[in-house]
């Protein structure tokens, strides 16, 4: 059995185990014998933990896949789906809805976030134009994320009430707490479409290994690839941020974790990155719930605490490679 297949199977088994663990674990530990519709603890599973668990797996998979596709597209192992501004744009949308106190209706915040993602994506596409250039794409993304970031900071500093400020700050940290089936239903079609689009980029990303000229001479259409990547990543990241807030680093870390097993070919990294992303977020979400803290540790913070040191590790390894 080849290494890629065994890794994918192992990840699937891991996801199944983490899925079950995620339904059991939390402030209230629910043993398997309580898993029946009549049990008083059943609503905790059916209405709280199950949607949260499904959402964690979906968001993790979408972010992992987006990260692998972005790294392949930019041919840079330090690329992250947040790099091109869509997550900052989505966050800004959500922050605006919180700023004006629209969060009363549960669907308004995700709707604003998705609008923010779509607007950012449109501006990005307009800035880059029809050139299909990777350098323009990266620079435009960096500009957009910094503009969206500064507007988010502005919204925090001008927030009408201290309550709004605290709501915005808490939301920005990213979490899966109290998510419902509505959130799952909202995110599912968008994430699925995004993942399908990204799954189509595999062979073309492989061709891009040889650089842009060689890839174009092999019949790669750079504009079509850029469209697939932009729309695919925007759907995945936009829908993730809309339902879970900003959860960073998954897209950066996960492809690095799977490359030692499946090699560096971009298309080979895509599927295992999606699976490993789902597993990582499921496990992280179980851990933040099981932590004996007074209020639940925010998932976004937990991932950043993992991601920072990992980034440092990558940097040190690269430095060794350069020496």
């Amino acid at each position: 059995m080849n290494r890629a297949l065994s890794l994918n199977l192992a990840l699937l088994v891991g996801i199944a185990a983490a899925f079950v663990l995620s339904l059991l674990a939390g402030k209230v530990w629910i043993p398997l014998d309580a898993w029946s519709v009549g049990d008083p603890r059943w609503p905790i599973i059916a209405e709280l933990r199950l949607p949260r668990t499904v959402l964690a797996a979906m968001v993790g998979a979408a972010l992992g896949l987006s990260g692998a596709a972005m790294q392949g597209y930019l041919r840079n192992p330090l690329a992250d789906p947040g790099l091109f501004g869509v997550s900052s744009g989505a966050a800004l949308g959500a922050v605006i809805s919180l700023y004006f106190g629209y969060a009363a209706a549960p669907w308004l915040l995700p709707a604003f976030a998705l609008t923010g993602a779509a607007v950012t994506m449109t501006i990005l596409a307009l800035l880059v134009g029809r050139s299909g250039s990777v350098i323009l794409f990266t620079l435009a993304g960096v500009i957009l994320s910094s503009v969206a970031g500064s507007m988010t900071a502005l919204a925090i500093s001008l927030a009408p009430t201290p309550f709004a400020t605290s709501q915005i700050v808490t939301w920005l940290m990213g979490a899966l707490t109290d998510r419902s089936w509505d959130d799952v239903m909202l995110a599912l079609p968008l994430l699925a479409l995004g993942c399908v689009l990204l799954a189509f980029t595999g062979r073309t990303l492989d061709a891009l290994t040889l650089g842009e000229s060689a890839a174009r001479s092999m019949g790669v259409d750079p504009l079509r690839l850029q469209l697939l990547i932009v729309i695919g990543v925007a759907l995945c990241v936009g829908a993730s941020v809309a339902t879970a807030g900003i959860i960073g680093f998954i897209g950066l870390i996960v492809p690095h974790l799977v490359r030692p097993f499946v090699g560096n070919r971009p298309s080979a990294v895509l599927l295992p990155s999606a699976l490993a992303g789902a597993l990582l977020l499921l496990v992280a979400d179980c851990l933040v719930r099981a932590m004996p803290t007074v209020s639940e540790l925010r998932l976004g913070i937990a991932m950043s605490m993992l991601g920072g040191p990992f980034f440092l590790f990558l940097l040190l390894r690269m430095r060794r490679g350069l020496a």
Binding site: R203, A207, G211, S213, S217, M218, G219, D221
Partner: protein, 258 residues
């Protein structure tokens, strides 16, 4: 007979005329060396032929059809481009890299028998099969250049366009690569190669295309085109063309006496 033709192509890049009404015809089964000083437009001509640039005027004809009527994939199946100093952005193994050359022939159902045969014969032709499992970063400059050439050959192009494939190679590997280009031409494909060393052109070329300032100075059989006069007008150097005792021709260039 399938012929690759440039018909009066002109191209301006950033306000500068890089190609100026270039007309040239290339024949299959032959090696054509494209020669000329730096900035003469040699690489740009190759890019235009390969479809990376669309000329402002004129057109490229492939087998009697205008290039613009061919789809990206059709074009990529006919023309294989080996760009100058090609990068490899991910450290993949040699076999994986060579297999990328099959991209224009890919099907929905993954690798076919034809793909495997083409990859194997490209690796045999460039003598890289013995390190098929090695990662690209573990190769020497010469091995790397051969692997990159194998990638293009794996696409079984009717036209091989190589932009300075001998740069950074030691003399032995340069001769190996030239021999490999000759083999490709012998198999029936047309080879168009940008070279800087006139002696390499003498060793490999049937025909020579001499360029200067975006224009074609001369095109024709090697002996007719590569003369001390044409070398002096194109490169601004004096030259002496001689023959070794065993009949190999060579060129020595010296600064022009004014």
């Amino acid at each position: 007979m399938s012929v690759l033709k440039a018909e009066g192509i002109s191209l301006r890049l950033s306000g500068r005329t890089v190609l100026d009404a270039v007309s040239a015809a290339f024949k299959p089964g032959q090696v054509t060396a494209v020669l000329g000083p730096n900035g003469a437009g040699k690489s740009t001509l190759l890019s235009c032929l390969a479809g990376l640039h669309t000329p402002d005027e004129g057109r490229v004809m492939i087998g009697g059809r205008p290039r613009a009527t061919l789809g990206l994939r059709d074009l990529a199946r006919q023309i294989g481009l080996l760009p100058q100093g090609a990068d490899v952005h991910w450290d993949v193994d040699v076999a994986t890299l060579v297999a990328l050359g099959r991209y224009p022939h890919r099907t929905r159902w993954g690798e076919t028998k034809a793909d495997r045969i083409a990859v194997a014969s490209a690796m045999a032709a460039t003598d890289v099969a013995q390190f098929a499992a090695r990662p690209m970063t573990a190769l020497s400059g010469g091995e790397r250049a051969r692997v990159l050439l194998a990638r293009v050959l794996a696409g079984e192009p009717q036209w091989l366009l190589a932009d300075e494939p001998l740069a950074n190679l030691d003399p032995a590997h340069q001769l190996d690569t030239l021999e490999c280009l000759r083999d490709v031409a012998r198999s029936g494909a047309g080879v168009i190669v940008v070279l800087h060393d006139l002696n390499h052109a003498i060793r490999v070329a049937d025909e020579v295309l001499l360029m200067c300032d975006g224009r074609i100075v001369a095109q024709g059989a090697l002996e007719d085109v590569l003369t001390p006069q044409s070398i002096a007008t194109t490169y601004g150097v004096s030259s002496h063309i001689g023959t070794t005792p065993d009949g190999l021709r060579f060129i020595v260039t010296t600064p022009m006496v004014r």
